[in-house]
């Protein structure tokens, strides 16, 4: 790959709150290639949504993207652009699909008007052309009777339909990148299957790249070619999807995979990760996963692990990469020893 479509380099996004500085995103680097679908997974509070908002420069006070961070998109550094230039990129070259379609749509405008608005702003289309474009987009995302639906308000549509409308809005300008933040979390599993199928089909036809943010590893397995696992504001593991599921390296990834019940699975008891994600104002020293980890040893308390290369584009932020023999000696994590409940 010569030059990726999107490249994050050492992104830091901090929030300055009364209770301290929340280092929500703390040195995140990754890239998304043209036409690629990349998954970002992690539990709530790991910084995945803040990463997405940082890319679009939608972080508001008390939050701030720190000096030294770089976000390159189509050769431009997004952090150096003026707000005006940024507006030309948002919705035009990079579009966003949010989790909750009801809050992403304006309840007092028809869905047709809302889709048309994108075309009018970014392509200077006439009112009439934009209305035609809106109907065309609704048809593209598989909404039956699009002429009729375009005149309806968001509350008249079901959750799955609303999410299709949001996707239609995102695709009006044929963006190079769509950031989908938990696009199916609020939907039922049958509707989720429809929406993911739709996204996969559209990327194939239009060549759009997708950054798919989710907590559901099943969704990642079926849709992404590459996965980035985030924990406590950092990338802890990155690998090709097949590789990650076959040979998860980081104990956190291992824990996530074990904790996930699977249809057809036979495990009597689910593996758990004891404890919870620490607060972002107070990340632990050394390895941030240490207290919940069943392999942690002295080195983990003192030395913050770098992202080790473990071959074939697979990276892992765990000292096991250099001391693999430690994996043979799992023990009870600190968080479990002091009570899974340590608040």
């Amino acid at each position: 790959m010569t030059s990726p479509l999107l490249e994050l380099d050492n992104l830091h996004t901090f929030f300055y709150t009364d209770t301290g500085v929340a280092r929500a995103v703390d040195g995140v680097s990754f890239h998304v290639g043209a036409g690629e679908t990349v998954g970002v997974v992690g539990e709530s509070g790991c910084g995945k949504s803040v990463t997405a908002l940082s890319i679009l420069r939608l972080i508001r006070a008390p939050g701030r993207v720190e000096q030294g961070s770089a976000i390159r998109f189509e050769g431009k550094d997004l952090l150096g652009l003026s707000e005006r230039e940024m507006q030309r990129i948002r919705g035009n070259r990079i579009a966003m699909v949010f989790q909750e379609p009801m809050t992403a749509l304006n309840p007092v405008f028809t869905v047709g008007d809302q889709i048309a608005e994108v075309a009018r702003i970014h392509a200077n289309m006439s009112k009439k052309d934009a209305a035609v474009k809106a109907v065309e987009m609704l048809r593209l995302v598989g909404i039956p009777a699009p002429e009729q639906r375009a005149t309806e308000y968001p509350h008249q549509l079901s959750g799955g339909m609303r999410q299709r409308v949001v996707i239609a809005m995102a695709l009006v300008m044929n963006p190079a990148l769509v950031i989908a933040d938990e696009p199916t979390t609020a939907l039922d599993v049958t509707i989720q299957a429809q929406i993911l199928e739709l996204l996969a089909d559209l990327t194939k036809r239009l060549g759009t790249s997708i950054l798919l943010i989710t907590h559901d590893l099943g969704v990642v397995a079926e849709n992404c070619s590459r996965v980035i696992v985030m924990y406590a504001g950092e990338v802890v593991e990155e690998a090709a999807t097949v590789d990650l599921f076959a040979r998860a390296h980081h104990p956190y990834t291992e824990g996530l995979l074990g904790a996930m019940p699977r249809v057809g699975g036979t495990a009597e008891r689910l593996a758990t990760i004891p404890g919870t994600v620490p607060p972002p104002t107070n990340w632990p020293d050394g390895c941030r996963f240490r207290e919940r980890c069943m392999y942690a040893w002295e080195r983990c308390a003192t030395e913050h692990p770098p992202l080790y290369q473990i071959g074939g584009g697979h990276t892992s932020r765990c000292h096991l990469a250099v001391e693999p023999e430690r994996r043979a000696h799992p023990h009870t994590p600190i968080a479990a020893a002091i009570g899974a409940s340590a608040a």
Binding site: D188, A193, E197, L256, G258, P261, V263, A343
Partner: protein, 359 residues
């Protein structure tokens, strides 16, 4: 004698219009649901949002007053009980709610929350109650020293543990778990699922486990009932339901679960369209407009399919899936053109995937 038996449970919510609240229709949230739960058993109710699974759970406990039907619990006719008898019975039947944020009173310490049930039912007071609260907190994996803290000081998973301790405080034999892990992250979800299983093993609890996540359900349930638009459309042992689902709806539901095995492409039965409104459900079989059964015909839109035992312990509501008590003659008389025929379960593919993967 059955432990919990629910027969023809119906809950219709009136739709009121205008200033005078004229009733203009009924939302048929639960429309004739019957099932039994045995002591120590977990029956899961699954289905998409709006199918009536939560309403069923609440109607069984009379947290919502059912429109009609019969609920028998431990020899008591639950729907006929007066207020004080019902309160006494509630000791034996408890509920754990989905949202650990809104189901705990933010002005009460978690110790007070867990203790409330003990006081109301006169189970313990004074230092005996304190000791009991500490013991309960320990049992659900919370440190007893936390009893003076308030709900906002805890994470979602910990709050859910408080909700479970509260339900356990009155020593119930039956708990309705209404989506207890849906709001939790996957690692925390596993902790709570394991806790529920441990408690069931130690105390012989019966659960009515309401959920939409089929992978969690397979893990925790003994039997599963699938609901669609206020009806139970299929009910079977968990293994039978997941390996040989009979109803086209169940097959579609199972095939829609994302498989955490990259590279494995599975045949997916995509349902078209959305769930119809329960205020205006389709006639006949409520699933017929979206059904992919090869024998589907005009009679499906007329005949309401009874829930029948298609195989030992495996119940389904489909007049096109043999054997059926709805005769072919009666189907023909209302426009039937295709005689009943087996629709082969395709979602059984899940099993073959898992044996070929790393596990």
């Amino acid at each position: 004698m059955t432990f919990l038996s629910v027969r023809d449970l119906v809950k219709h919510f009136p739709i009121k219009r205008g200033v005078f609240g004229k009733v203009s229709g009924q939302v048929r949230a639960v429309d004739g649901v019957s099932f039994d739960v045995a002591p120590g058993e977990t029956l899961a109710l699954v289905g998409e949002s709006g199918c009536g699974k939560s309403t069923t759970g609440r109607a069984v406990l009379r947290l919502i007053e059912p429109t009609s039907g019969k609920v028998e619990f431990d020899g008591n006719d639950v729907l006929a009980l007066g207020a004080s008898d019902l309160r006494r019975l509630r000791r034996k039947m408890q509920i754990v709610f989905q949202d650990p944020f809104s189901s705990l009173n933010p002005r009460m310490s978690i110790g007070a929350i867990v203790r409330e049930g003990l006081t109301i039912h006169n189970l313990a007071e004074g230092s005996a109650a304190d000791a009991r609260v500490k013991q309960l907190l320990e049992e659900v994996g919370l440190r007893p020293e936390y009893s003076s803290r308030y709900p906002h000081e805890f994470s979602g998973g910990q709050r859910q543990r408080v909700g479970i301790a509260r339900a356990l405080s009155v020593e119930p034999t039956f708990i309705v778990c209404d989506e207890p892990v849906s709001a939790l992250d996957v690692s925390v979800q596993a902790q709570v699922v394991n806790l529920l299983q441990d408690l069931q093993r130690d105390r012989g609890l019966a659960y009515l486990f309401i959920a939409h996540d089929l992978s969690v359900v397979e893990h925790i349930a003994d039997r599963v009932a699938v609901m669609y638009l206020g009806h139970i459309v299929e009910m079977a042992d968990v293994d039978a339901l997941y390996t040989t689902p009979i109803m086209p709806y169940t097959q579609a539901l199972l095939s829609a679960v994302p498989a955490p095995d990259p590279g494995v492409k599975r045949e997916r039965i995509l349902l078209t369209g959305d769930v119809p409104s329960p205020a205006n459900p389709p006639s006949g079989c409520v699933f017929h407009p979206r059904c992919q059964h090869p024998a589907r015909d005009a009679s499906c839109a007329v005949i309401i399919p009874p829930l029948e035992e298609k195989a030992p312990g495996h119940w389904a509501a489909c007049i096109k899936q043999p054997p059926t008590t709805v005769s072919w003659e009666s189907q023909k008389s209302v426009g039937g053109t295709n005689p009943p025929d087996f629709f082969l379960p395709r979602a059984a593919l899940h099993r073959s995937i898992d044996t070929t993967s790393a596990h």
